[in-house]
Amino acid sequence: MNDMIKKVTQLLTDKTIDVFIGYGKGSADRSRAIFVRTAEQAENLVFSANCTQNLAGYLLKHEVKHLGKLGILANVAALRSILQLASEFQIKDGEVLVLFANPDGSFTEFLDFHSIEGYLLTTETGITSGEQERIAALEAMSVSERWTFWNQEFEKCIKCYACRAACPMCYCHRCTTDVNQPQWIPVASHERGNLDYHLMRAMHLAGRCVNCGECANACPMDIPLNLLTYQLISPIKAGFGATAGMKSDAVYALSTYKPDDKENFII
């Protein structure tokens, strides 16, 4: 940890960056994002097993951007978020200094997107086996059982949009939910409004989701929203050869096609 504090202090002193987004101690057993701008604040940096939040979303937050040149402590999900955001022209190469926390506690500095891309090829980026099992269990159900399952989950939804706010890829200034001519997605948090919202969001993240799980973690009602987008990861990879957040200049899977894309349902 001291290495980290030293490194960040150095970066701040020599003005390489103006602010470093890292983890600090949070309430109870939680960690939280902190925005380090002075050597003194750097002393508050911590890194431990509970530091799992994907901090990349902050890179696009208006007030954070205005603090100056940004540095960030990234986990694998954050690295992928950065590349995906780059492919969508939201972050430019060299704009953000990226420190990566290695599993052994040491830190790697990534100087450009290319080195991030290289690193990601060597590391595990998929969803966990637990998540795979949950998806498999759902897939094993009948269609109407799945309907019931999701209906019960969505019933809990209060449309607080924490999932959207926490998602690094939900950076649109105007979400489809905010469009009212026509009102595609009902504002109301009734069954239809909730179903529409979550289907819409999952579709808009299909091929863009970097499986950081922030949506599900953020949900105060504990809805396993991540499964919706996670479930689409393997068909998109298998069908179109695309995985989100692996290349800074990737073409979005749903913005392109192959003349021989395979399907078995169009007659």
């Binding site: 969508e88 022209f89 939201q90 200034h173 105007r174 026509p182 595609w184 913005s255 392109t256």
Partner: protein, 666 residues
């Protein structure tokens, strides 16, 4: 509140036989916002249209629904009628109650109810329609023709003769293309040079045509009517104004042993050279890669001998910028590299040549002055084998498609050979003879019957040299596949026609699409064969697919007509049913977040980047913008846009949403 008029057509009895038209008019007349509704025997007839126009005026209608036949039939008719009555034509919609209702359902209540549903959908849609104006795009009446082969020449002359300016860009030192290399042309055996060279001269002399040879297109920006093109004029090391084309330099150049590209390596040329005697422009260029001065820093013989002091060793490439309203792609084709076929020994045996080399041998201006002589020892070959489909129709090793021209030129080659070597024996190995074309089949027949060419249906498996002869092994499939072995003096491979080298890069530079073979893609294989998917860019000749001369010329004239039509007005008028990106006041500017995921879905490169800048020039936001000149209105970007920042006129989000609601809520 809307004031919509509903007009239900009986179409004689075509509709009214199964749909109760009076009832449809009555029921839909009760809909909110419907001011007037009626039914009539023939809405498209003169009195029908008059009824429509008068109702618009009398009831001050602000929207019209005509329930009749398919809009694909009469939408223009009724929109025009509305416009004549002073109503914006885009406030008129049609309900298809004939093709989609009366003709496909029996006479019963369900059919009439469906007709009511279809009308209701359009009533609700029309409420969300907007008055639209046609899009006007100014047009620069200059055409850029890329490529100076027969297709480019034809297109350029046709356009220039319509009175428009043409800029022609040719990458080689002379125009003329592959046609200038040919000996005689099928099926009439005209001398290629005789029919081509006058046209080349015409290009050089035409007051409307500016010719840039030894030049390449470096970039293309802009869109239909308004392209901006950068052309790199490679240095010829020559002041073209001073040069008289006397040719003294080319005879004095000490470097004389450079394989001549024009002769397909069957002859030599100096380092300062004119590609062929009839070249246009007939002025030399220095091939810097082979010039002694550029290699060793010493020589300058050409400069010394030049009577007008026109040589410029320090001349640099020049990049010029031109504007054009349309572009014709006429970059032609190439032939498959013969090293594809090691078993045929091309490159290994001097006397295995390709078709274009045979053209040079047969050409009166070629390296042998038109006598057929083997490259190895200059002997006249007495037995010659032509191998058709060398690479074509060969998914395993070559290319899948038929190169189309080889059957004919192989027949021509056999015929020319017989005409020049009376005692010679030509063989042709072929898969099928494809001689579809005016006088083509007759021509092939003549080759076989009159000139006694031996046509063997089968593939050649291998060619090897033995005792100065080329042993050609194959099989005759018409004789039950019996093996055939011919001791030939020379072999000519009809190698496949392929996309020109660099076609892919050029397509990307000019922003047009290309197929998997790298040939440029037409907008529609049947109905838009000379258009590309990029508005304002057209195709001529073999850059699209292998074509023979008549076809290339026809396509070129077709492209020229498209250009001339585009140039027939000062402004281009386009249907306004295009996509548009939402714009708002500062500080939002637009709902667009600039992710540009829409950019790659657009088949027309119509989505551009727009930078919103502060007064001090700092970029505040980068947005997508739809170029109205390019957008064709497919709406794929609209469906993709997450913020719904893109919408499309005529099929807007509001319109389709309301249509669904109206359709399902009766």
């Amino acid at each position: 509140m809307s004031r919509i008029g509903v007009f239900v057509c009986h179409c004689g009895e075509n509709i009214s036989a199964t749909v109760n038209c009076e009832k449809v008019a009555k029921i839909t007349g009760e809909l909110k916002g419907v001011e007037f509704s009626t039914d009539y025997k023939y809405m498209c007839s003169d009195p029908g249209q008059t009824l429509l126009k008068e109702a618009i005026k009398e009831h001050k209608l602000d929207g019209v629904v005509v329930a009749a036949c398919s809009p694909r039939m009469h939408e223009p008719t009724f929109r025009k009628a509305c416009a004549e009555a002073g109503l914006n034509p885009f406030l008129c919609e049609m309900s298809n109650i004939r093709e989609h209702c009366s003709w496909v359902h029996p006479k019963d209540d369900l059919t009439t109810e469906k007709a009511e549903d279809l009308v209701r959908v359009m009533v609700e849609k029309v409420k969300k329609n907007k008055a639209l104006k046609s899009i006007k795009v100014p047009v620069t009446k200059t055409a850029l023709v890329i490529g100076g082969g027969i297709a480019g020449i034809q297109a350029a002359l046709d356009i220039a003769n319509c009175g428009h300016k043409v800029i022609m860009v040719e990458k080689l030192p002379s125009i003329g293309g592959h046609m200038s290399q040919l000996s005689e042309t099928f099926p009439t055996l005209d001398c290629s040079q005789c029919i081509l060279t006058p046209r080349m001269v015409e290009i050089a002399q035409h007051p409307n045509i500016t010719l840039h040879t030894y030049s390449e297109v470096e970039s293309v920006d802009g869109f239909i009517g308004n392209f901006k093109i950068k052309i790199r004029k490679k240095s010829k090391s020559l002041d073209e104004h001073l040069c008289t084309g006397c040719g003294l330099c080319t005879t004095k150049c000490p470097q004389k042993k450079i394989p001549n590209e024009f002769e397909r390596g069957l002859g030599f040329r100096p380092a300062i050279y004119v590609p062929f005697p009839q070249a246009v422009p007939n002025k030399p260029v220095i091939d810097r890669e082979n010039c002694t001065y550029y290699i060793k820093g010493k020589c300058k013989v050409c400069e010394i001998v030049c009577p007008t002091k026109a040589i410029r060793f320090d001349q640099e490439d020049e990049v010029i910028e031109v504007e054009a309203g349309a572009i014709v792609m006429a970059t032609g084709f190439d032939v498959l590299k013969s090293d594809y076929f090691p078993e045929y020994g091309f490159g290994k045996y001097k006397d295995v040549i390709d078709g274009l080399q045979f053209e040079r041998l047969a050409s009166a201006s070629g390296p042998t002055q038109g006598e057929i002589r083997r490259p190895s020892d200059g002997q006249v070959p007495k037995k010659i084998v032509f191998v058709a489909c060398a690479g074509s129709r060969d998914p395993a090793k070559g290319i899948e498609y038929c190169s189309k021209i080889c059957c004919m030129y192989t027949a021509k080659h056999a015929m020319l050979y017989k005409h020049k070597v009376h005692d010679g024996t030509p063989y042709v190995f072929y898969m099928d003879i494809r001689a579809g074309g005016k006088m083509y089949e007759e021509f092939v027949r003549r080759t076989i019957v009159e000139d006694g060419t031996h046509y063997v249906r089968g593939r050649v498996s291998t060619i090897y040299e033995k005792n100065g002869k080329l042993i050609v092994k194959g099989a005759d499939t018409l004789m039950g596949g019996i093996p055939i072995e011919i001791e030939a003096d020379m072999v000519v491979l009809a190698t496949a026609g392929v996309a020109n080298k660099g076609a892919e890069e050029l397509a990307q530079t000019v922003h047009i699409s290309y197929d998997s073979y790298k040939f440029f893609a037409e907008a529609h294989p049947k109905l838009k064969p000379v258009e590309t998917n990029t508005a304002g860019i057209f195709l001529a000749g073999a850059c699209q697919a292998p074509k023979d001369i008549p076809e290339s010329v026809a396509a070129a004239s077709g492209a020229a007509v498209k250009v001339a039509a585009l140039f027939s007005n000062d402004e281009l008028t386009r249907d306004p049913l295009v996509a548009v990106v939402n714009r708002q006041a500062a500080p939002v500017y637009s709902a667009c977040v600039g992710c540009f995921l829409c950019q790659s879905v657009c088949p027309y490169q119509a989505i551009e980047r727009e930078e919103i800048k502060s007064r001090s020039g700092e970029i505040i936001k980068t947005l997508a913008r739809v170029n109205e000149g390019l957008c064709q209105g497919c709406g794929t970007c609209v469906a993709l846009c997450r913020t719904k920042a893109i919408d499309i006129h005529g099929y807007s989000n509001q319109q389709v949403y309301t249509e669904i609601m109206a359709l399902l809520n009766d």
